[in-house]
């Protein structure tokens, strides 16, 4: 039924590039889109938060708990925690820079520091939960608070898992100065998690 110029089509074979274009890295494009989607997830939760915050008519802000006391958030402690998390973005960036300069040891050091700082953040956050004095069931506000911070905490945890996998790969010498897409994708994600936290801190704790 069909011929090539004179021959039947030969059984095809996988080709290494799959036709991917060089220059634009599909994995990083994918990660950026995924982050876009995550941003919208947080946007939906923030929407809920603001509806609850401004829907409560003739009430003071922060609203009152079941027992009549106002909700109180530890702004100072969380501020320090925020600095830790933001700092971890810079240590990660520094680690990547080392790798690009060919310094694998530097990358491993950077990853370790980042992971430890992220872990510290989570521990402080859990500690905060334990001492807040209200639960998600208290009022709509507390539900929104726990949902936002909880979702963020889960994202930090996922980020930590990704970074530890990268660390393991770094030990196995899988990353080179030019070939380190998983690491780059992981670091995009980590920066996103940090930026969301800064927003969250400003919108929920500070104002």
């Amino acid at each position: 039924m069909a011929t090539t110029t004179g021959h039947a089509p030969a059984p095809s074979h996988g080709q290494d590039t799959h036709g991917k274009k060089h220059g634009l890295n599909a994995e990083l494009v994918g990660m950026l889109l995924f982050i876009g989607s995550e941003v919208m997830l947080f946007a939906s939760l923030f929407t809920a938060y603001f509806f609850i915050r401004y829907g409560v008519s003739n009430e003071v802000w922060p609203p009152l708990k079941q027992d009549g006391e106002p909700f109180e958030l530890p702004v100072m402690l969380t501020g320090i925690n925020t600095l830790i998390l933001v700092g971890s973005s810079f240590t990660l960036w520094w680690g990547e820079r080392c790798l690009k300069a060919g310094d694998r040891k530097g990358l491993i050091r950077g990853l370790w520091v980042t992971i430890l700082m992220g872990g510290t953040f989570l521990i402080i956050q859990f500690n905060e939960y334990a001492h807040l004095g209200f639960t998600p069931q208290d009022r709509a506000f507390s539900g929104a608070f726990y949902t936002l911070t909880g979702f963020h905490g889960a994202h930090v945890a996922v980020g930590l898992i990704i970074l530890s996998m990268c660390l393991r790969r770094a030990y196995k010498n899988d990353f080179t100065a030019t070939q380190h897409t998983p690491l780059a994708a992981g670091s995009y994600y980590w920066h996103f998690v940090d930026i969301v936290w800064v927003l969250l801190f400003l919108l929920v704790y500070v104002i």
Binding site: H7, P11, S37
Partner: protein
């Protein structure tokens, strides 16, 4: 059962058991009472069961291996392609297999949802209770809508786009084949969770699941919320994949303005999915937390807000409407351009209007909430944006119509669905404008008018377009043609069924019948009964479709590479395409819709390197050319040459003679075929006795050519057109028929651009003799050729004298007589009377005409004298002499 399914079921069960254990343990530790809480168990068990299934079926194997630090190869193709049908039931990373899996899965859910719809309609067939009570009715209604929206209309585009998009872009696969597999397998989990709710008490808060209604109810409602999450994850993963594919994997030369509109549609849809779907995820998380964790998002006296749910929900669900429609718009654009055989009208306007719809789609969500009690100031802005969004939609509508305008329309099954779409979607779009206008909507909200609107939009925009796509690409995907007759039955039953079922709902709604009710006022009895009958027609139509698929798969005609003569890349590979689509990445060289533009090409597909050259299909489709008077005309020959440049057709001539002379027709046909052969065009033909309409109509019907071309003289002077031949042939044969008009002088003139050999006839006194005409005719019958008759006159001096003029005039008359005699019997001939004697005239004439042969014809011995001059002037050209005997008119 295969290894993978055993593993999947085992790990799903393990996941569920683990969830039970986890919930009981945690509840025991925190001292919660009672230990068994249906909602909580359902959530956790659904989640872990689902993830367990995905793990077991193999979705995560590759990544887990990577995470464990073991070596993996991104070029691992062990799960790529299928060798038998059973492998469609396991994980696969080939986009073509996933596309088919997607289609089968979503159509399965469409059937489930359709059965629910038929049950709904049966219940509504008459007032009072027929088969279910109110509670069960709510369950049926919710299940119907949920299945149709979340696991049919939203994901189904993933099936078609998965199959064709990478091929259209000239890629070997999607950007992330393993993510692609995961997106697919999310779907059965989601659908299973919805369906499983039948056993936990069906969810009854409809597909919109508004709290506080959704905060009550059985554990089925929790399963709904979880199912939506899985479906959403599936959408997002596919969308990211499509976008990454479009952005990074286009073949060289495939600029964004050369992408088929389907690629644009998929891209815009994917952007909507990526940025809107998280909102429904958010809304379902919140209702789930209210149900499972005891938060108070939607409890007003605890500071919660129910309107907030609607805002978040519709911020997804309005864009979701476009997620369901835009891919359909893309499919329709492909189909209409191909079957109207015209470049898509306003390609860029089509692309931009889709982008505009995508952007505006984020700004209209609250038009679903005009009567909800939301902030009143939002109403008017939302009304305005809603009306504005009708503009880009109108641009698309007009562009499709303009593409059809004066196209050569082929009413094959895909095109029928496209036409059905235009009609149905137009009605849905117009009723949408009513819904978008606040004062009207306050009346229409929550009535059957809404039900009518939404089914017109979704049936037209989703079901019809998806079927257009299925009929269009089925031959490509399966290598089999669908049975055309059954396809037509399927379409017409569906089309009429849709109108009967949903058209009366407009009236019913205007009269005030509320939607989502199991019982109604008896005055609506009649109209509901009619609608129920219409819905059964839809059921029967669907059965015909599946029957058609089954028998066509088993014994349908094999599909050629390009059954519809499309121009996009998927038609330039075999049906079905090879494992990695292209051996060598193709080179794109032009736009995708240049139908009817001679020599335009979209892309070059290369053969494997070891062979070199291009990959082409050499199946040619017959085009039936019906002509008689216009045979050999330059107009007809040019038309056929330009069509032949497509490389897709073979030409079959049919010459109906009616009362005319058959021998003449034969001669003209022979000339035409010879001329075409000279251009390397393979054509055949036959002369048929009988009238044009019967002969051509019947030949079209029995031969089933791709198209019929009828060539005639201008309508005023054509006997065929006086009988309205073109339209009547189209009717009688059922084949697309087009009309070529040839000017009268063109029809009789010598075909200028022609490779036929030219014979020069040199004659003086013989011109005008019957014998000369007879000789030429005999020569012509032996071998088609063109003839030029040269009559060199040895005029007496002075040449301007009256004697010379008289000789010249007589020679001219004789020449005209001979030429007319020859042309009227179909010989290609022209002639010239020259003012010089043979010795002076012939060198000039030979130089001007460069004949391949010279024939000297003389009467009464003058031939010898002429031959002397001819031989002297001829050079290499062979000269032949015929003696004709007595001179003309000397009796």
């Amino acid at each position: 059962m295969s290894f993978w399914w055993r593993r999947a079921i085992v790990s799903a069960v393990v996941g569920v058991l683990f969830a039970f254990l986890l919930v009981f343990m945690l509840r025991a530790i925190f001292g919660l009472d009672p230990l068994w809480q249906g909602n909580v168990v359902a959530t956790v068990a659904g989640l872990f069961g689902g993830l367990g299934f995905l793990y077991g079926i193999g979705c995560f194997d590759y990544w887990l291996t990577w995470a464990k630090g073991r070596p993996v190869s991104s070029e691992d193709h062990s799960f790529h392609g299928v060798s038998n049908w059973k492998q469609y039931f396991r994980i696969n990373t080939d986009h073509k297999v996933i596309g088919i899996q997607y289609m089968a899965m979503t159509l399965f859910f469409m059937v489930c949802g359709g059965i629910m719809a038929l049950l709904i309609r049966t219940e509504l067939a008459a007032p009072g209770q027929q088969i279910v009570d109110g509670q069960a009715y709510n369950g049926l209604l919710s299940m119907h809508a949920t299945l149709m929206i979340f696991v049919f209309a939203v994901p189904v585009f993933g099936g078609i786009a998965n199959y064709v998009l990478p091929i259209m872009l000239g890629a070997k696969d999607m950007a992330f084949p393993r993510l692609n597999a995961l997106s697919f397998w999310f779907l059965p989990v989601s659908g299973f969770l919805f369906l499983a709710s039948t056993f936990t008490g069906m969810f009854g808060a409809a597909w919109t699941a508004y709290p506080p209604l959704a905060s009550q109810g059985t554990a089925g409602q929790t399963l709904f919320e979880l199912g939506v999450q899985f479906a959403g994850a599936s959408s997002i993963a596919t969308a990211i994949n499509f976008l990454a594919t479009i952005i990074t994997m286009r073949a060289p030369g495939m600029t964004i303005w050369r992408m088929p509109i389907l690629a644009w549609a998929t891209g815009v849809t994917s952007v909507l999915v990526v940025f809107a779907t998280p909102f429904i995820a958010g809304s379902q998380f919140l209702t789930m937390f209210d149900r499972v964790m005891g938060t108070h998002f939607f409890v007003p006296d605890q500071g919660g807000d129910v309107i907030m749910y609607q805002h978040i929900f519709w911020f997804y669900s309005h864009p979701a409407v476009y997620i369901m429609l835009l891919p359909g718009f893309g499919i329709i654009s492909e189909v209409i351009a191909t079957f109207a055989r015209k470049p898509l009208f306003g390609y860029r306007a089509m692309a931009f209007s889709m982008v505009a719809i995508g952007v505006l789609g984020f700004g209209v969500w609250a038009h679903h909430m005009f009567v909800s009690g939301m902030a009143a100031w939002l109403r008017v802005p939302m009304m305005i944006t809603t009306i504005i969004i009708a503009v880009p939609t109108g641009v698309k509508m007009w562009s499709w119509l303009a593409t059809l305008w004066r196209g050569k329309i082929h009413m094959k099954a895909p095109m029928l669905w496209a036409m059905g779409f235009l009609f149905t979607f137009l009605i849905g779009g117009l009723s949408g404008v009513f819904n978008g206008i606040v004062p009207a909507d306050i009346q229409l909200s929550d009535t059957y008018f809404i039900t009518a609107h939404l089914h017109y939009v979704l049936y037209g925009g989703s079901v019809y377009t998806i079927f257009a796509g299925i009929y269009y690409w089925f031959p490509k995907a399966t290598g089999k043609m669908l049975n055309e007759r059954l396809s037509q039955w399927h379409f017409w039953l569906t089309f009429i069924g849709t109108q009967i079922t949903f058209m009366p709902m407009h009236w019913q709604g205007l009269q005030g019948m509320p939607r989502r009710v199991a019982d109604y006022d008896p005055r609506f009895a009649m109209i509901n009964g009619i609608e129920t009958i219409g819905s059964y027609m839809l059921g029967i139509a669907t059965i015909i479709f599946f029957y058609n698929v089954v028998i066509s798969l088993r014994k349908g005609d094999p599909a050629p590479w390009n059954p519809w003569r499309g121009r996009t890349l998927e038609w330039m590979v075999s049906s079905p395409p090879p494992l990695f689509n292209f051996d060598v990445i193709p080179q794109v060289v032009g736009g995708p819709y240049q139908y009817g533009i001679p020599d335009a090409r979209h892309a070059v597909v290369f053969a494997p390197e070891q062979f070199g050259g291009e990959l082409t299909e050499d199946t040619r489709y017959p085009v039936l050319v019906v002509a008689n008077d216009t045979l050999t005309s330059q107009g007809l020959i040019d038309e056929i040459r330009s069509r032949n440049a497509d490389g897709l057709w073979s030409f079959e001539f049919l010459v109906p003679v009616g009362d005319d002379d058959r021998a003449v027709a034969e001669r003209r046909l022979a000339t035409t075929l010879a001329i075409l052969a000279g251009f390397g065009i393979a054509a055949t033909g036959r002369v048929a006795d009988g009238e044009v309409i019967t002969v051509a109509g019947d030949e079209g019907k029995s031969r089933q050519p791709y198209e019929i071309l009828v060539a005639t003289l201008p309508t005023a002077s054509s006997a065929w057109m006086r009988q309205d031949a073109v339209d009547r042939i189209r009717k009688r044969s059922g084949i697309a028929t087009s009309h070529i008009v040839v000017r009268g002088d063109d029809a009789r003139a010598l075909t200028a651009a022609s490779a036929l050999p030219l014979t020069m006839i040199v004659a003086t006194d013989a011109v005008g003799a019957d014998a000369l005409a007879a000789v030429v005719m005999a020569r012509f019958d032996a071998q088609p050729a063109r003839f030029t008759i040269i009559c060199p006159l040895d005029l007496p001096q002075p040449r301007w004298g009256s004697e010379s003029s008289e000789i010249r005039r007589q020679a001219g008359e004789r020449m005209t007589a001979t030429i007319n005699a020859l042309v009227s019997v179909g010989v290609q001939v022209q002639g010239e009377v020259m003012d010089d004697g043979p010795a002076d005239a012939l060198p000039l004439a030979i130089d001007a005409f460069t004949p391949t042969q010279i024939l000297v014809a003389g009467v009464n011995g003058e031939a010898a004298a002429l031959a002397g001059a001819a031989n002297a002037a001829a050079g290499e050209t062979p000269v032949e002499i015929v003696n004709l005997g007595a001179p003309a008119g000397s009796e």
